[in-house]
Amino acid sequence: MDFRIDSELQESLDQLAEFAREKLQDDVSRRDRVGEFPSDLWKLCADFGIQSLASTLAYGGNADTIKLMPSLMAMETLGKHCSDGGLLLALNAQMWTVQLPILDFGTEEQKQRFLPGMCRGEIIGSHALTEPEAGSDVYSMKMTAEKVEGGYRLNGTKRFITLGSICDFALVFASTNPAHGKWGITAFLVPSETQGFTRGEVQQKMGLRTVPFCELQLKDCFVPEELRLGKEGAGFAIGSHSLEYDRCCMLAGKLGAMERQLEQTIDYVKSRKQFGQKISSFQAVSHRIAEMKTRIEAARLLLYRTAWKKDQGEKAILDTAMVKLMISESYVQNSLDAIRSHGGNGYLEEYGVEKDLRDAVGSILYAGTSDIQKNIIAKMLGL
């Protein structure tokens, strides 16, 4: 394993950092306060080529193949230089749980119809898996897809759908054979203009407020055969496949955010004086920062090793579960430590570190809670 970055990639990452600092940082606090999705920044990201990272040249992408390592380094860079955690969540959700499954399992017609538009920022896709009664036990879903002439008729409700309120289509998972449980789940591409497709109210959240979540209700939605993604019954495999990329890249952004948080905290404790000296001179403070740094470096090594395995074509289910667990829990802990190091100021919105904590809590819940990650790790160890 060699994680050194060549000069070409480093140059791209430097340009991305500059783009994020100059274009994506504007007005984050206000947008977070009012829960506003930055449609203009979404388009700017597309123009810069971010969404294109999750596609290939023939379908609006940047390269012949998708490599996980440079993609997650891009996300890490974005996380460091853009504090809008909601925007990053939205980007990752579309790129790895919508674009990637279409690229890997879609027909030529499906790829041409959806991918170039998503890469250009003109079409927004959401991933609709979770249901009111199917959260951690997600494949016990109730949504059904009944086979009818020429296609399927979908009925049911999806919950916590990232970008659901503004999506142009949703990648919807529904049961085509309830008797087969998770093996009877099939994936469909459902345009939002389909009759019977309705959206619920945008749900207010603790953090990640700039990305909208809502319910989607499908009532007698007819989806033609040509919009089924993959084989009938392949929904479980398709969903699991994309989660490995999603977990790595989503969490790479958090790693970048932790790096930004660390730098900000170091600057603060070196300038803040109490008891006649800089608070960085107190071991209670400096040791806490040493622990923050150690968590970041351990998490980065785990993430990079996992990406390296994936790029070699190896399965990395155990590794991605450890990455998800390690980075999300470290982000929560580091966010708390950043606030402690800022003292009362850390509790104020203007210092920005309280927002990181609110965003961090989301990361231990979405894409499989920490408890679920531990279950996966234990199962993969044969327990």
Binding site: K182, G184, K231, A234, A237, I238, M380, G382
Partner: protein, 78 residues
């Protein structure tokens, strides 16, 4: 092949060495093998029989029972 498949499944995945599996016994829709179990089992099959198993092939028709798995492996080796 079916005996080899059954032995690994009962001993390593299910960890119930006394269990006797019939070749046509449903492993999946009954919940006998859970999702993590089948993922580990497929990883072992891939390595043991030196075949690549594409994600899109992870459907019930190919893994519902030992007979189906055996047929699938043979088709991938061809």
């Amino acid at each position: 092949m079916i005996k080899k498949l059954a032995d690994y499944l009962v001993e390593e995945i299910l960890q119930e060495s006394d269990l006797v599996l019939e070749p046509d016994e449903d492993l999946l829709s009954t919940g006998l093998v859970d999702s993590m179990g089948i993922v580990r089992y497929i990883a072992w099959i891939s390595e043991e029989f030196d075949i690549e198993i594409p994600t899109e092939d992870m459907i019930i028709d190919n893994f519902i029972n030992l007979e189906a798995i055996s047929r699938y492996i043979t088709s991938r080796q061809a």
